[in-house]
């Protein structure tokens, strides 16, 4: 509860800065219209993503589930504006996406923190790009490190942090920009189960307090059920959405609750049915 409070406070603090950074607060809607991706690999055209259509409401938390290499990450990258789609278009908050923007921040599985900067400067990186003065951005970085429970690690370097701590820093680095959309590409995938559960709960708390739109890619079916308003199941390459599940279980959802497990089992069946027989079913649940 105290945490929720903190987030609300910070929400206000950031809203005060909104004119300086020209940012929206809260979530925005996403429209994904016929987005596809092809690329050349060793002289062959590879279709990574079949045309995908998807409507995401502002403040919705959607989990994307599917086998490795099915194009989920590519889709997030395209929404982030880091690579162009081969076809189709994306509208974020009604405006066409034409490149990267700090209203949509991507979080990577490997955290992608900069090893040449200490924790505090990592968190402040985006603010520096936005032209915020040094003292101000250091203050905000400290606030957001407190939010992710990493006070006292401001001057640590990346190699001194555990995997879970790195993801917390990455989360702070994203949240400090007050993005309307968080695009999370298996951010907890490499973590141990305990750390993962903790971070899931914290993410849900932050989401509930800020109302951000979140797209969350995962391999883990139960994680998807525990977090998502909706779970979208992707087919193997070329990725397309084969089925959509609305999860109406009450929050917060326990990973061990039988309803979560039942729902996960149902989704897992669809996931396996969509997989080619020659492929290993490597998804965890």
């Amino acid at each position: 509860m105290a945490e929720r409070h903190l987030v609300a406070q910070h929400g206000q603090a950031v809203a005060g800065k909104a004119d300086a950074l020209d940012q929206p607060s809260g979530g925005i809607s996403l429209e994904i219209v016929g987005v596809s991706k092809r690329f050349l690999a060793r002289g062959r055209m590879v279709e990574a993503l079949a045309p995908v259509d998807l409507q995401v409401k502002a403040g919705e938390l959607i989990c994307l589930l599917g086998p490795s290499g099915c194009g989920k990450s590519t889709l997030l990258s395209i929404i982030a504006g880091l690579e162009p789609p081969s076809g189709g278009l994306i509208r974020a908050g009604g405006r066409k996406v034409q490149g990267p923007g700090i209203d949509r921040v991507l979080l990577f599985q490997e955290a992608a923190l900069f090893p040449w900067l200490d924790v505090q400067h990592n968190v402040a990186f985006g603010l520096r790009q936005a032209g915020m003065p040094e003292a101000e951005r250091m203050r905000m970085a400290r606030e957001y490190l407190e939010l992710v429970h990493l006070s006292g690690f401001e001057h640590s370097y990346v190699h001194q942090l555990s995997g879970g701590m790195r993801q917390r820093v990455a989360l702070a680095r994203a949240l400090v920009l007050n993005p309307a959309v968080l695009l999370m590409d298996e951010p907890f995938g490499a973590l141990d189960a305990l750390t993962r559960d903790k971070l899931q709960i914290e993410l849900e708390t932050i989401w509930a307090a800020t109302g951000k739109t979140i797209l969350f890619v995962t391999h883990n079916v139960r994680e998807a059920v525990a977090l998502g308003d909706r779970v979208l199941v992707f087919s193997p390459r070329p990725g397309r959405i084969i089925q959509e599940f609305s999860i109406t279980l009450p929050r917060p959802r326990s990973l061990e609750h039988h309803q979560t497990i039942d729902q996960a089992r149902e989704i897992l069946a669809v996931l396996h049915a969509g997989q080619r027989p020659d492929e290993e079913a490597n998804d965890e649940w």
């Binding site: 990577f108 490997e110 900069f114 090893p115 200490d118 790009q129 936005a130 001194q160």
Partner: protein, 269 residues
């Protein structure tokens, strides 16, 4: 959460002793070395003007410094080195970034740089003398070519080995244009760049000495040459000691702090 931190702190008390011991061992080694040297000299196999003992060399070093010869010579050499190395650094950074980021330049200029790297830069000296005359510019030219390709290749390697995810993350957080280079690509490549800088530095230093051996104005290289002309092995050895001192000092002042920082930040052993 702070498991790694506590183990790091636990090792602190031994650090003081661990730091002093190597120095003591080093001191003993050099004392033994100097005694052997002095012992051989005392056997009087070679005349002292060809093979002077450590005391005579130390005396020559002292006189060289106090008579106002060695320090001005060192300054002349350092000035050339500073000019030449700065030029190499600026060109090498730009060239290395271009090579690392552009496939066409990599395929064409890249092969040329590799070839040039195989050519000892002293080989440029005759050509440089033909072009510029035997003067300051010829020497600096050779110094520039000595360091340039090492620096270029170091920057190129660093840029190429930078995980693309850093650039993605940086663009995602709002970094654009030149800032991607100055705030992401270059710092990310720093460990590899540093190797190139160090190698370039030592090549520049060697090239400078070779160039100065031929060029008759006061400089460290030239003092070696005059020592030979005067049949004064003590001066030659004293200048050699001077050259080692300057080289080691600059390495300690210039590169050691950057290296320490890189190790600390990246967590390299």
């Amino acid at each position: 959460m702070s498991g790694e931190m506590t183990t790091m702190l636990a090792e602190q008390p031994h650090l003081g002793r661990a730091r002093v011991m190597p120095w003591i061992r080093r001191l003993i080694f050099y004392l033994i070395l100097l005694s052997i040297w002095e012992g051989i000299v005392r056997l009087e196999i070679w005349p002292p003007y060809l093979f002077p003992g450590p005391l005579i060399v130390a005396n020559a070093l002292w006189e060289g410094v106090t008579q106002g010869l060695f320090l001005p010579a060192t300054l002349v050499s350092l000035r050339r080195l500073a000019i030449g190395y700065s030029i190499s650094l600026s060109l090498g950074l730009v060239l290395g970034l271009l090579l690392g980021r552009n496939k066409l330049i990599q395929e064409t200029v890249g092969s040329l740089v590799l070839g040039m790297q195989a050519l000892p830069s002293v080989c440029w000296l005759p050509l440089a003398i033909l072009w510029f005359g035997l003067n300051e510019r010829a020497i600096i030219f050779v110094v520039v070519l000595g360091a340039l390709f090492s620096i270029t290749l170091g920057v190129e390697a660093g840029v190429k080995n930078t995980p693309p995810v850093y650039l993605k993350a940086a663009r995602n957080l709002g970094a654009r244009g030149v800032r991607l280079y100055t705030q992401v690509l270059l710092p990310a490549a720093l460990p590899a760049i540093l190797n190139g800088l160090k190698q370039g530095w030592s090549f520049a230093w060697r090239s400078l000495m070779a160039g100065e051996l031929l060029y008759y104005t006061l400089s460290l290289g030239n003092l070696l040459q005059t020592g030979r002309d005067l049949n004064d092995a003590a001066q030659v050895m004293a200048v050699m000691v001077m050259i080692v001192i300057v080289g080691v000092t600059i390495d300690q002042i210039l590169f050691a702090p950057i290296e320490r920082r890189v190790r600390e930040r990246w967590g390299l052993a």
